[in-house]
Amino acid sequence: MKKGLILKSIVVLSLICLCTSSLLALTNLVTAPAIAESERLATLESFKKVMPGAENFEEKTLSKSYDGVENAWTCEKGIVVKLSTSGYASGLVIMVGLTYDGTISGVVTMSCNETAGYGKQCEDAWYQQQYAGQTKDLNGVSDISGATKTSRAYRAAVQTAFEVLEELKGGEGK
């Protein structure tokens, strides 16, 4: 390959990359606040669903990393934990609300990539509602028939939330 061609290729490709990066940086500048805002609103929405009536949510940093736990917040009634796990597919994101006395105030499936008709039923109201009022043993929760992996992963995630409760409960002195 001629030296001139190599140089030209390098220069042109570099310039294109420079220009596209600049365009992306500009777009990011414009959109970042709106993105952060919509994420914040989505989180607030889910708080209302898992722990209705509570306010003053404060995000806490945990002493160690729990399996699948992404964030944890405390409020006056209890804690809310956001977990990301894998059922049949990855991307199963759940918000779990637990009161300080060890019962589930609510769970919400934020997103999932499970199979329609089977694991995807974890997004249905009937499945999520049965968790409300349950304790750590989850005795009253029935699995989705034909979706063992999803059901098991969901249960495990909720039970991990209880582990977080143990840690945060101590901090609140209750």
């Binding site: 490709l13 294109i16 414009v30 970042a32 989505a42 997103s111």
Partner: protein
């Protein structure tokens, strides 16, 4: 003028990228389970296709042949990322519905294919028209398939329940199996509409494909039959 119009309109039915050229089938099958997704995907592709065609056509004499594929991909990826950020900021519900398929627009064969086959060899104005036409054709194909799959498969229309169908619907149509059935059916309909006069030119057979050199199949037996699917 008539020539310009034909560049714009050929992408709609006669050389529809999905139904005739059979490009971009992956997002087609995935995003036609609902009309909202189909429309969202279609509009995103129109934007990316239009912008990338314009930029690549504007730079066609500047980009050396040796680095043309990397250069095209960088340009296309840039516009896809811009669309991603705009959607995430202003229409987050659509952003989550489209999910990974938004990222996959980068490797959507339609966009790289048009860059290679058209934008790199024509003026900016013509490339813009081609981008618009092909994007519109893609959207049309997606909407046609989604209309069938959502209304008959889920009994809804843009999420709203359809009176009779919401009780009696063919769930198989929203599964991948059903997707292929509907795809074949709509393709057959297109052949009927174009009266089987699908383009047989060399540019749609192996020689025109960007991967021809790597693929190895293009060297022999490409008599244009590939285009007439």
């Amino acid at each position: 003028m008539k020539e310009k119009l034909s560049i714009l309109l050929k992408g709609l039915i006669k050389e529809n990228p999905v139904l005739v050229l059979v490009l971009g089938t992956c997002p087609t099958l995935a995003m036609t389970t609902s009309l909202k997704n189909a429309l969202g995907m279609g509009l995103s592709v129109i934007f990316v296709l239009l912008c990338s065609n314009i930029v690549i056509s504007a730079l066609r004499r500047v980009i050396p042949d040796t680095v043309r594929i990397p250069a095209y991909i960088v340009v296309i990826a840039c516009f896809v990322t811009v669309v991603k950020m705009l959607l995430q900021a202003f229409v987050p519900s659509l952003f989550t519905s489209l999910g990974t398929f938004l990222d996959l627009i980068v490797v959507n064969c339609i966009i790289l294919g048009r860059a290679e086959m058209f934008a790199s060899k024509n003026t900016v104005a013509d490339s813009a028209l081609d981008g618009l036409g092909m994007g519109a054709g893609f959207t049309l194909a997606l909407l046609a398939m989604a209309l069938i799959r959502e209304t008959l498969g889920s009994g809804t229309f843009f999420g709203l329940s359809v009176p009779f169908l919401s009780d009696y619907h063919f769930a198989i149509l929203v599964s991948p199996t059903g997707g292929f059935f509907v795809f074949g059916a709509v393709m057959a309909l297109t052949v009927l509409l174009t009266r089987g006069k699908a383009p047989k030119r060399k540019s749609f057979s192996c020689e025109g494909c960007p991967s021809a050199a790597i693929c190895g199949k293009g060297a022999s037996a490409s008599d244009g039959k590939e285009a007439n699917v």
